[in-house]
Symmetry: C2
Subunit: 478 residues, 2 copies
């Protein structure tokens, strides 16, 4: 019973210590384990199954827009990484270097890809000749490495899993459209599937991707009031094309540079789901992403007919839901805690008395609401309950975000909100990096994005008082 002991130790409450609560949940919901490789994690079956569902949903959406999957090498020769000046400056300090292959020292160092712009550019330079070859809409699913100093499971680790899309277009306009299209796909996916509302906007120059002309982002608010960048989409214009010589012959037979984009989402989304929806009993998974949606827990399972009926119920549900029966020899109370810790959206309790009445008890993970359901209409009811849960999880997350989004018109207000209340602060900004730097130094908050939905809150910058150029969402961030 070593395992039972482990789980019944209460997890730290999020009000007491949010960081510890997070660590407890990732461990006790069995999403990850630490590994012997410093800063790298083992993603366990319960965690990886969430990633598989994220992959399935995103991949389908990508392919509907014409994207094709490819696979590039995991290594980048140093000379290739150095071809685009801003890009190498941004990434070189945090890459892992391979210096030996087998028993020999390499003639040129190879870095393990931190991102693959340079490889895709090198490939496109050979691949693209004419306007007929455009657009190229490629994506890859892989792992990347960034040598971070401080790491946290899912949120920041030296190796993480992601997808990276890389496209090449004939015109600047098409590249811009693709950048926006992918950001919208990301945002819709977060809201529809992860029940996580996001702010769509553009990064300031200080915060944009190394080598990009413009970076678009979706920003979500975690339960503790910190922001999490949840997906980004970059418009490179023709900067990389010029550095790598990616040209095509247009219809008038003139040589032109292509315009490029890249866009990515990572396993950090799993961290986001934990911190947006989790509670003091553990993980709460939105039904659409949950690897197991329904756990049937037999009550008094040794009584004749109970396990058989539970199995019969599973068979009724399995064509429409991801459903399991927990027929282990643990107590029902223990099974309840375990199902709650793992965030399984609903459990169905089924005992001899229920069977007598031809009913079962359906319990929602998020609200604990119990519904007595006739076994004759269990399929319809479970579908309704899961749908309602998915919808209400999004609504609750949105309410939480609204409640923790404040307007600051003066620098004093700004500092007070960041210090006392956490959450997003909306303020006007002059466009000057000096103000971003000052705010970061003095408050710890960074500019999250200039949202597409701009509001005119004031005429002047919240920091320096000069004329304002844009409204910005600010916040402390993961």
């Amino acid at each position: 019973m070593a395992k039972e002991k482990k789980l019944v130790e209460a997890i730290t409450s999020m009000e007491e210590d949010f960081a510890q609560w997070y660590t407890d949940v990732v461990k006790k919901a069995e999403l990850i384990d630490y590994s012997s490789v410093k800063g790298c994690m083992v993603i366990k079956p319960a965690g990886y199954a969430i990633w598989e569902n994220i992959q399935k949903e995103l991949d389908k959406r990508f392919k509907e827009t014409g994207v094709e999957n490819v696979y590039m090498p995991m290594f980048i020769p140093e000379s290739l990484l150095e071809k685009e000046k801003d890009h190498v400056e941004g990434f070189a300090p945090e890459v892992a270097w391979v210096t030996h292959g087998g028993l020999n020292q390499l003639q040129e160092r190879l870095c393990v890809r931190p991102t693959s712009e340079t490889l895709f550019c090198d490939f496109y330079a050979n691949e693209i000749e004419s306007y007929r070859d455009l657009p190229k809409l490629y994506n890859q699913w892989c792992s990347v490495v960034r040598w971070e100093k401080e790491t946290r499971p899912f949120l920041r680790s030296r190796e993480f899993l992601w997808q990276e899309g890389h496209t090449a277009h004939a015109t600047a306009e098409e590249a811009k459209e693709r950048t926006e299209l992918m950001l919208n796909i990301y945002a819709d996916f977060c809201e529809e599937v992860l029940a996580m509302p996001v702010i769509k906007g553009r990064k300031t120059d200080k915060e944009k991707f190394a080598g990009a002309e413009a970076t678009y982002t979706i920003e979500a608010l975690m339960h503790d009031g910190k922001a999490l960048q949840s997906g980004t989409s970059h418009n490179f214009g023709d900067g990389f094309a010029k550095a790598f010589g990616i040209q095509y012959t247009d219809k008038e037979n003139k040589l032109q540079h292509v315009h490029q984009t890249s866009w990515g989402m990572t396993t950090r989304l799993i961290g986001a789901v934990i911190m947006v929806h989790g509670d003091n009993s553990g993980l709460v998974l939105p039904p659409r992403i949950a690897p197991t949606q329904v756990m049937i827990i037999p009550i008094m399972q040794k009584k004749e007919g109970v396990l058989e009926k539970a199995e019969e119920l599973r068979k009724t549900l399995v064509s429409n839901f991801r459903v399991k029966v927990d027929d282990s020899d643990k107590s029902p109370g223990w099974k309840f805690s375990e199902q709650e810790m793992r965030g399984i959206p609903v459990r169905i309790e089924l005992g001899p008395k229920d069977i007598e009445k031809n009913q079962c008890v359906v319990v929602r993970r998020d609200t604990r609401e119990k519904t007595i359901v006739s076994l004759d209409e269990v399929e319809i009811k479970v579908a309704e309950i899961l749908e309602t849960m998915q919808k209400e999880m999004l609504e609750r997350a949105r309410e939480h975000r609204e409640k923790h989004t404040k307007v600051a018109k003066t620098y004093e207000e700004f500092c007070k909100i960041i210090e006392k209340e956490q959450g997003f602060v909306k303020s006007m900004w002059c466009g000057d990096e000096a103000c971003e730097n000052k705010i970061k130094e003095e408050t710890g908050a960074t500019s999250r994005c200039m949202p597409f939905e701009q509001e005119h809150l004031a005429d002047t910058c919240v920091c320096c008082g000069k004329p304002a150029k844009a409204m910005v969402y600010w916040g402390k961030a993961y």
Copy 2:
């Protein structure tokens, strides 16, 4: 028209130069491209889509047997790699070493995983406590790196994609069963999906995996008579468990070592499909693995109604088949060659005269057989044709293998067959590594496996004349 030019250059015929034919096909069917990273390839959309189908089919079969997916770090600390003596000896000479992270030299070198036994063992040592934790049936999809000197697309490259399953069991018997179960899954997959017959057997000690007690293998015969190891399944016994201290408390409360297995299949399967089924017009894909199964090619597509009818036909077929219309402005003849080069199993030709007669022409890629099909029964007919094609591709490959499998009773016969005819040679063997070494040196052939289906061909070893212990399949191999 630069692209048209490229394709119409005939590919080298396989009879003239099989290796060049192979290289031409992988390039011209647009499966891969070479990269700036020596020994690594870019897997292009047409190649990666085959891998996605392989993944889907295998993953489903794995999960049906209780396997769960996980993700381990891509790095292995040198001290961890060294824990199992045979294993490190086998792999250390061919791994890539990371020595620097960011700007700092690492305290301990990390190798990029060539395979992940050591990581799984390290993980299992922490994870497994009691018999209740067993079995562990984990798999991961990832890329691995082996610093090969000579490389060929799909067959041998410094980085390749694969799955690696790693299981831990309470008893030696269970580990043996799992090793055999996975080998059978691999063999069935090759025959049912890839239409590729395989010989199931056990590797000799000389050829087994570094650290394994027993390695089982499936061996396929390529069109040129060379063998290709297509999947392996290893029984580790408790060797790794002892090296890593992986113990569990059994029902009698005694400490026991676990018994382990691992098994893997790689992107080299794509190379196998090319070399088993391809012909002098390019790739030939078995229908069950083909990313596009049906290509509709409109004839005289500028005539009113042709493209509309082609699109209507696509809509009829799309719910049951992976189907596309080629409505590009190339000539029909060009489109035919392209469809053939890419190995798309059937094309449907549809022109004004066909439309008038309410029919279309279905052409099989492998036999070029044309069938005139009424548009009213096109769904049924296409299904029949694809099924027949799948079945006949397997039969043809099996006939080819039978024709190129010879028995050698004397060493003279053995040498002659290997030199003149290529293919598999079946011979008796004494069990001594000295004979394997002699045969390899003198003929270039290696022992492929001791097949599960043993035959008694003679009493003595084909090489040394001592009493025979087993029948062995020999051959030159990729």
